[in-house]
Subunit: 349 residues, 2 copies
């Protein structure tokens, strides 16, 4: 096989070998067996029975679980602050956190293009292992498919997750009420802009680093402290604006945001201005919005600031206003945020 | 956009519209919202809260669940007996059945190539809905990603599944003992050969129809009737031979199969002979092996024959022989089955 660079990771990494994925790695035969035994089980198996066949049997604590899935197609596969592996673990863990659940188990489905370097797969799997260990979640089942050269794009990963619901009250747009405060857990726009800069070789100075990470710990702390969380939403594709529009529509309420309060770092703001991108619509991967009663807002904020000093209240749910609307108050006036139809930044997750 | 045929389904289907998937369908914005509201929720939502955000919260019956995942990359997307949608539901349902679990919930992750016909997506989603309804499983959470034209292959689907474990004893290679009988639930090789024939336009007469379907009902009946199931394995990629080699290796036992007993239909046998393919290694998608104590074999067989008259005992676990070996007894003698290194039939699931 040729040693072309087409499937190598986009970041310079020392290359200790040149074994490449072949179609037979997806056949269920000897090479599939080797891939599982040499790459996946050493990273993920915690007991000899783990990952030995197509399903996992696990004991469930409690009576309610959260269940979520995401496929990851980010380009490039490696970006400042993370890679497709850490993203695939944290993104799904964060979806569980948004359900008020403690993450317990993950599945991983790999669709690999023929020719992908096994060494690169090992690095991504190691990154998944590290992210899973950091958050205390176990990868218990998986699947590998290989598609012919030219019929994939290096690597796609799907992760699904199961968590134990620890929230004692439902967390949902239905709980959102006029007077509630909208808090964001950190500064916005870093993931989308970091991926964009890496993909387009934009040499921002200082470089923008993705916020890719788990929000499980702050959410579990809010729940431990008995904060009445009306709604939680991670601010991924579509950013803060899209997340709040969806919640306002589902809840049938109006929201108002203070533009001046919305935390965006100077490097992200500068990059967005240069590229004509609105940071309110840029994806984050380690940042969420919490909607809480006004009486709980100060306590929630002080807890969140232990994890990220940029956490801040950015707006509130209004008692009047058109149901489903989100208004942005600026020095120049107030205008309604809309869903955007087009794609600002494709394939950021 | 052009109306090129490159992403259309391989079977002739009336085409009621020409809307195509755009990158923005994966952006999290307006088009993603429309896709969910117009295609996914009408097919899958059973209550207004279903599929409204990134995770589902469900009540768990019992204390043990099975969890499994599979990505589906089959080509062509439609084949005699099924399509990627029915395959994605049944394949994952069958993995849960192999854990002795009643399937409850599914997730679906779509990776769609820009340009794919929305109408084709609707048909595949309808096929998933029908397959899920037939088996009584609910699709409760999902995700959609869109990749640029040329960076995918029409459509990949990942499904993950959760089931309630109903087996009172562990079902695992560890339970397998000398004297146990190996039963297969139906005739072998239909799925792989049906997909191969469709992909290569091989006009076998009579046509070979995939066995794509759920094995949940027969497995639950075996459990209901109190059959002591030592091990279950669906005979997908790698076929019967690979499944039994894996079990024999995990269990540290030797098995012996009677070649004459192995059920292969005449059309499949003929097609395999023409193509030089061994049906023992061809994938099935509605067929499993059950390994049971000799004392239970007759009762297990009579139950399985209520579902498929081709169910039959094909071999046994030997008290001697090399651990991990599977021997095939033919009229001409006995030879050891090996894992195959290469890929007979890529992308059959």
């Amino acid at each position: 096989m040729t040693e072309g660079p087409e499937f190598t990771l986009q970041c310079p990494l020392p290359d200790s070998g040149h074994e490449r994925i072949e179609l037979a790695h997806g056949s269920g035969g000897l090479l599939t067996h080797r891939l599982i035994e040499e790459v996946f089980r050493p990273a993920f198996a915690q007991s000899p029975d783990d990952l030995t066949h197509d399903g996992a049997v696990v004991d469930v604590p409690g009576t309610q679980i959260a269940f979520t899935t995401d496929s990851y197609v980010v380009r490039p596969l490696v970006f400042p602050g993370g890679d497709i592996g850490s993203l695939a673990v944290n993104g799904t863990v964060n979806d569980l956190a948004m359900c008020g659940a403690r993450p317990l188990w993950l599945s991983a489905g790999f669709v690999i293009e023929e020719g992908f370097l096994v060494e690169d797969l090992r690095r991504i799997v190691a990154s998944m292992r590290d992210a899973a260990q950091a958050v205390g979640v176990r990868l218990v089942t998986g699947d590998t498919k290989v598609v012919e050269r030219g019929h994939g794009d290096g690597l796609y990963i799907n992760t699904s997750g199961i968590g134990a619901v620890v929230a004692s009250q439902p967390i949902s747009p239905r709980q959102v009420q006029p007077g509630d405060v909208v808090i964001v857990s950190g500064d916005l726009g870093r993931h989308g802009m970091a991926v964009m800069a890496a993909r387009e070789n934009l040499g921002f100075e200082p470089p923008i680093v993705s916020d890719c990470g788990s929000v499980s710990a702050p959410v579990l702390r809010l729940l431990d402290e008995g904060i009445d969380l009306h709604c939680l939403r991670d601010l991924t594709r579509g950013g803060l604006a899209t997340a709040l529009i969806e919640i306002a529509e589902s809840a049938g309420v109006a929201m108002e945001l203070e533009a001046a309060a919305i935390p965006v770092s100077d490097p992200v703001r500068g990059a967005c201005e240069i590229l004509g991108i609105d940071p309110l619509y840029v994806a984050n991967e380690g940042c969420f919005a919490a909607i809480v009663p006004e009486s709980e807002a100060a306590r929630a904020l002080s807890i969140l600031r232990e994890f990220d000093s940029a956490a801040i209240a950015v707006g509130s749910v209004r008692s009047g206003g058109a149901a489903g609307s989100v208004a942005l108050k600026t020095m120049g006036g107030s205008y309604a945020l809309d869903r955007i139809a087009g794609e600002q930044l494709p394939r950021i997750c």
